[in-house]
């Protein structure tokens, strides 16, 4: 068991190394996109649209401003491959930790950080099947490396058995779905940040950041962010309900305004507001994007500050 714990740590450090290189390459990719002539992208777009359009089929023209990102640069392909490799190591580390502990690997802050980042990265990688979001690679790998670094250096605790309060099947469900929601919110926030940058560049407020011209336009980014965030919201709602059911079993009430419950509620309300904002005149676009970013920041706040500095029943950081 000791060996497995050590091996798991080796895997964590290796994953961090690989992610770091991946992050650097993703950044190079963005830099290269900034350097490249943006017109070439538009040309490719038009040609492919011509090829797709048949003779008898008239396709409504789509605006080029919202065209999808163009083919990957060499840097991006390498970075993505490394991200995938890093993720395999990362998942390996998480699984080893779980096997060594003989239980799910999300019981204290270190383990939760390890698992949640693995799930977030997994969501990012799998999302590519749905849409090419590789332009978020630098953001996601950067955040993952930072998070892994912080949890391994500052929050590390040895494997200890489950305290009675956590001996429940809801530990598996509630925390896993919470991590899943976090993963989706992370990507949603990344898209919202890109949306804001893109909108700002379109309004000529930001002269730099030319790579934004190779990304989908602000409207498309907003729509992508919305679709990712609503999935996160559904998972978060489930987390809240599952947590309430567990709290009823463990603490004798399903809702008691414990600090963690309060923040889960705040986050839920923020994202509910985000969804409503998308249907409110004057709130679509930048303001709703800010809500999504504030919502994700609250998630991070809930995990770090609330866990470490607020007193409450969710005191499972494992740190003293």
């Amino acid at each position: 068991m000791e060996n497995m714990v050590a091996l798991s740590l080796v895997a964590v450090y290796s994953a961090m190394g690989v992610y770091t290189i991946s992050f650097i390459l993703f950044t190079f990719d963005l830099a290269k996109r900034s350097a490249a002539e943006p017109t070439s992208a538009a040309v490719v777009e038009v040609t492919s649209a011509r090829q797709a359009g048949g003779i008898s089929t008239a396709v409504r023209a789509t605006t080029t401003a919202d065209s999808p990102p163009t083919g990957a640069t060499r840097y991006q392909r390498a970075a993505f491959a490394l991200a995938l490799l890093g993720w395999v190591l990362h998942v390996g580390a998480t699984v080893l930790r779980g096997v060594a502990a003989g239980r799910v690997p999300w019981v204290n802050m270190f383990e939760f950080g390890l698992t949640a980042t693995a799930i977030g990265m997994g969501v990012f990688l799998v999302a590519q099947v749905w849409k090419d979001l590789r332009f978020l690679g630098a953001y996601i790998t950067g955040m993952t490396v930072l998070a892994l670094g912080i949890v391994t250096v500052n929050f590390y605790v040895d494997v200890i058995p489950l305290p009675p309060a956590l001996q429940s099947v809801w530990l598996v469900i509630h925390v896993f779905v919470a991590s899943l929601a976090t993963g989706f919110f992370a990507i949603g926030a990344g898209l919202s940040i890109m949306q804001l940058l893109s909108a700002r560049r379109a309004a000529h407020k930001a002269e730099g950041l030319r790579f934004l011209d190779t990304l989908p336009g602000a409207t498309t980014l907003e729509s992508l962010a919305y679709r990712v965030n609503v999935v996160g919201f559904v998972f978060w709602t489930f987390t809240l309900i599952a947590g309430a059911i567990w709290a009823e079993r463990a603490w004798g009430r399903y809702w008691g305004w414990d600090t963690k419950e309060v923040w889960t509620f705040i986050i839920w309300t923020l994202f509910a507001a985000y969804i409503h904002a998308r249907a409110t005149r004057g709130w679509r676009g930048e303001r709703s994007a800010w809500l999504a970013i504030v919502g994700f920041s609250a998630v991070i706040f809930n995990y770090t500050i609330v866990n470490l500095f607020f007193t409450g029943l969710h005191s499972y950081s494992g740190l003293l």
Binding site: Q167, S223, I241, A244, A277, R278, T280, F310
Partner: protein, 545 residues
């Protein structure tokens, strides 16, 4: 919100006022009321109230709450008396039942009702109505596509209807065009979600009043009966009635904690707590185990294991050796190694009233200073230390006094502290003399205690049903696309010209693809039909020849 729009419809920009000197109509009282109602039920207000609710919830996580952490509130008052007074006036220690927090969520729910009821009416009508007429110019709508097919308009439209119905569309024919709509479930889900939230609020507000919960400490071998007087603390709901307490009793037979030692930190790790109890309900006895995540259900109530500790059995003898006090005294745990604090009050039987306050150490080890500490939560080396006081314990003034605290201000200390007499230190089974021939104290045995919570919560079922409905409503309202599709057909020289287009009702990123897919499968159906006709006519002509 405008009732005629689906919830996630993107509001179009308000038209610019033509002139800034436009004459506003004068509003009478009803007009103003209507104006405020419109404002309150607008989406913008709902959104602001949601954000306000999120912000208003924050203070409750920054300072302890009376409902969740009453001791924390007392501590806060002691540490910051001035700030406490200000915050308490603002009801910050009762954030979630405060006037301001309640106003926000009640306004939010009023806004919700005002929004949802007209929408329900509208949706009800829409559910029974045919899809609206086909717009004149389809080419201005989303995903506009044209196709050509052989055959006739009537046959093409019939095939189109079949394709649309197969995809779950509601279909209506307008001249040579088909108007189709699907995804009514989206709005249904949205309404169910909002009504279900209302359900949660109503259930908690109404049924919550009939609930109660009470805490009770039970020492091994003792039992407790579910009646008002036997609880140590009890909080009833607004409509609680004492006669509603179902008579049953619980006896604690045994309590077994299992610990491990974290060798790197030296801290104990709790592995399991099991309280074995005998429950008597309607005269029938049964044994059950209560664990931390496994409460037991008795007669509509749920009983939880909240805490545990030691209740050293203390016997006090008078100067003639007669036992005048003999009972287990629960000591409250102060740390993870169960160093526990307790108070013994002996009002009768001695020349003076005797009060003792002291610590219990399950695994006592002396520190360098000479003080004791516990190094493990199991009773490997149980030691009890007591400081004794004599004087008036003031138990007869009719003021309720906590059994866990001793006010020593007006008492005379006779052991420990500055008295010059050593504190009483007792191992298990030991007895020591009190000073001045007052009597003696014995640490007789070491039973454990558990603290149980009996909880009756009639809101659970209602809230669970509501949240499950809310969740299902949420899923359908977010992921079922609501859309309108149209097919228009007209005869051309060599067949039929078909036009397709769609309209999103709410967020629908796949609409364009849906229109294209409709055109494809319609075309495929028509092609199959025409090839069948060709085969049939070929066969016909073959059979003729």
């Amino acid at each position: 919100m405008e009732p005629l729009r689906p919830s996630d419809h993107h509001d179009t920009e308000a038209p610019e006022p033509r002139s800034t000197t436009i004459a506003q109509p004068r509003l009478d009282a009803v007009g103003w009321l209507r104006f405020f109602w419109r404002q309150l039920t607008s989406m913008r207000t709902a959104l602001l109230l949601l954000l306000l609710l999120a912000v208003a919830a924050i203070p409750g996580s920054l300072v302890p709450q009376r409902s969740a952490d009453p001791n924390g509130v007392v501590q806060y008052e002691r540490n910051n008396p001035e700030l406490f007074a200000v915050l308490d006036t603002l009801q910050v220690f009762d954030t979630y039942s405060s006037v301001w927090f309640s106003s926000i969520y009640l306004l939010l729910f009023v806004s919700l009702i005002g929004c949802v009821i007209p929408r329900t009416q509208h949706h009800w009508r829409a559910l029974r109505a045919a899809p609206p007429a086909t717009p004149a110019r389809l080419n201005r709508l989303v995903g506009y596509t044209e196709r050509h097919a052989a055959g006739e308009v009537a046959a093409a439209l019939e095939a189109g209807e079949r394709v649309l119905r197969r995809q779950g569309f509601r279909v209506a024919r307008y001249g040579d065009s088909i108007s189709a709509e699907r995804g009514y479930l989206r709005e249904t889900g949205n309404l169910v979600f909002h009504f279900a939230l209302l359900g949660v609020l109503l259930t908690v507000g109404v049924a919550g009043g009939f609930g109660y919960n009470g805490q009770r400490v039970i020492v091994q071998g003792q039992s407790f009966t579910n009646q008002l007087t036997s609880f140590d603390s009890f909080s009833p709901g607004r409509f609680f009635d004492e006669t509603r307490l179902d008579p049953f009793s619980i006896r604690l037979d045994d309590f077994v904690p299992v610990y491990d030692l974290d060798t790197t930190t030296g801290f104990p790790i709790a592995l399991d707590f099991t309280a074995s109890v005998t429950v008597v309900e309607n005269g029938v006895e049964r044994t059950e185990d209560i664990k931390v995540n496994e409460p037991i259900d008795i007669a509509g109530t749920t009983t939880y294991l909240l805490g545990n500790g030691f209740a050293p059995w203390i016997t006090v003898y008078d100067s003639e050796g007669t036992a005048i006090f003999s009972q287990p005294v629960p000591f409250l745990p102060q740390d993870s190694n169960l160093t526990s604090l307790g108070v013994v009050k002996v009002p009768d039987g001695l020349d003076e009233q005797l009060g003792m306050i002291g610590f219990f150490y399950p695994s006592a080890v002396p520190l360098e200073s000479g003080a004791l500490t516990s190094v493990f939560p199991q009773p490997d080396q149980p030691v009890l230390t007591l400081n004794a006081f004599v004087g008036d314990l003031k138990l007869n003034e009719g003021v309720p006094r906590s059994v866990y605290s001793l006010k020593t201000d007006e008492l005379t200390q006779i052991t420990g502290g500055d008295t010059g007499v050593e504190s009483l230190v007792l191992g298990l089974g030991d007895a020591v003399e009190l000073p001045d021939g007052l009597g003696s104290v014995e640490f007789t045995s070491l039973p454990r205690f558990v603290s149980l919570e009996v909880h009756h919560d009639p809101t659970q079922v209602g809230v669970l049903i509501s949240v499950v409905l809310a969740f299902l409503g949420l899923l359908t309202s977010l992921f079922v696309p609501r859309r309108r599709l149209w097919i228009a057909a007209e005869t051309t020289g060599d067949g039929v010209r078909l036009q397709y287009a769609g309209l999103a009702r709410g967020d629908d990123p796949r609409l364009e693809r849906a229109v294209a897919e409709l055109a494809d499968s319609h075309e495929a159906t028509l092609r199959d039909a025409s090839s069948e006709r060709t085969v049939a006519s070929t066969q016909l002509s073959a059979s003729r020849s």
